[in-house]
């Protein structure tokens, strides 16, 4: 689903964009990410923000358009989270 993981232009995080245009069922995404241990910081309908400090993640932002912003120490950690998150998100593409 995600073909690209690149540092976001602000330099503070990594950005992954879906290979094709998608629309996510955000309540479903939020529920499953919480079940997987991601703590919901804020649900703004079009965007949801999570944290999970135990796995080296400062924050994860999920956009309804499928875009992800992963803020963490390095690309390897971002890649590990991307793999987990992709498995969850794929189930909620509408």
């Amino acid at each position: 689903m995600y073909s690209v993981l690149k540092p976001c232009k602000g330099g503070g995080s990594f950005e992954a964009v879906p290979g094709k245009q998608v629309h996510l069922d955000m309540p479903g995404v939020i529920k499953d990410l919480q079940t997987s241990g991601y703590k919901l910081l804020s649900d703004a309908k079009v965007v949801a923000v999570f944290s999970k400090t135990s796995r080296g993640l400062d924050s994860l932002t999920v956009f309804r358009s499928g875009k992800l912003m992963i803020r963490c120490g390095g690309e390897d950690t971002a890649g590990e989270h991307l793999e987990i998150i992709t498995g969850i998100i794929e189930k909620h593409v509408v």
Binding site: S13, A44, V46, V47, T61
Partner: protein, 210 residues
């Protein structure tokens, strides 16, 4: 003359804050902390910029940090997507106005100048200002970016303001550039003003000496 200045940690607002202090105003800076929709960089940059202005002017300065994340989420959940930035600025002006009344300030300062970003149009400025009864001073309104950067470099805030950080994740792909006052008011009716009062109650004040 006591004024409240909205300061973001970007290039412009430290300059507008400085210019009014240089004119002799007693300025209290207010930063709306948009975490978790930004990272902590903006707050750190703001603190460092206010410290730099205090050092440059030889004045003790106060900075009030107001948690604004819940207000931002409320806008995203309950208004049209394209109005996010206009409504966000309007809510921040309302926050600053409420604080100004609380501390007896007579006006507000912003770092806005025309046309720098897509949503900073004359129409949007008018819409954002509607229903505010305190004067809003915009010392940078007619300046171009190079002029603003020159002053930022002179006072030492430029290098702080360009530190990398995560920009606001709630900015829409196509922000409104010609927001109508009546449309904005309709959208505002769906927003919860109590969130602003709660945010002010949870605000923290920091004092920076010269």
């Amino acid at each position: 003359m006591k004024l409240v200045s909205l300061i973001s940690g970007g290039i412009d607002s430290p300059v507008s804050t400085y210019l009014m202090i240089a004119r002799g105003a007693d300025v209290i800076s207010v930063h709306c902390d948009n975490r978790p929709f930004t990272d902590e960089t903006f707050m750190t940059r703001t603190k460092d910029a206010v410290q730099r202005i205090a050092t440059h002017t030889g004045r003790e300065l106060e900075l009030v940090i107001v948690p604004n994340g819940d207000v931002q989420a409320d806008i995203a959940r309950n208004s049209e997507r394209r109005y996010q930035c206009v409504l966000c600025r309007k809510r921040m002006l309302l926050t600053a106005s409420k604080l100004a009344r609380k501390i007896g300030a007579e006006g507000l300062i912003t770092g806005e100048s025309l046309g720098q970003v897509a949503s900073q149009t004359l129409r949007n400025l008018m819409t954002e200002t509607a229903a505010h009864d305190l004067p809003i001073l915009r010392p940078l309104i007619g300046m171009d970016k190079e002029e603003i950067i020159t002053i930022a470099k002179e006072i030492g805030t430029y290098d702080i303001s360009i530190r990398p950080g995560t920009c606001c994740t709630l900015v829409p792909n196509r922000p409104a550039t010609m927001a109508r006052t009546d449309s904005i008011q309709e959208n505002e009716e769906n927003l919860d003003e109590a969130l602003i009062d709660t945010a002010i109650e949870r605000s923290e004040t920091h004092v920076f000496g010269p």
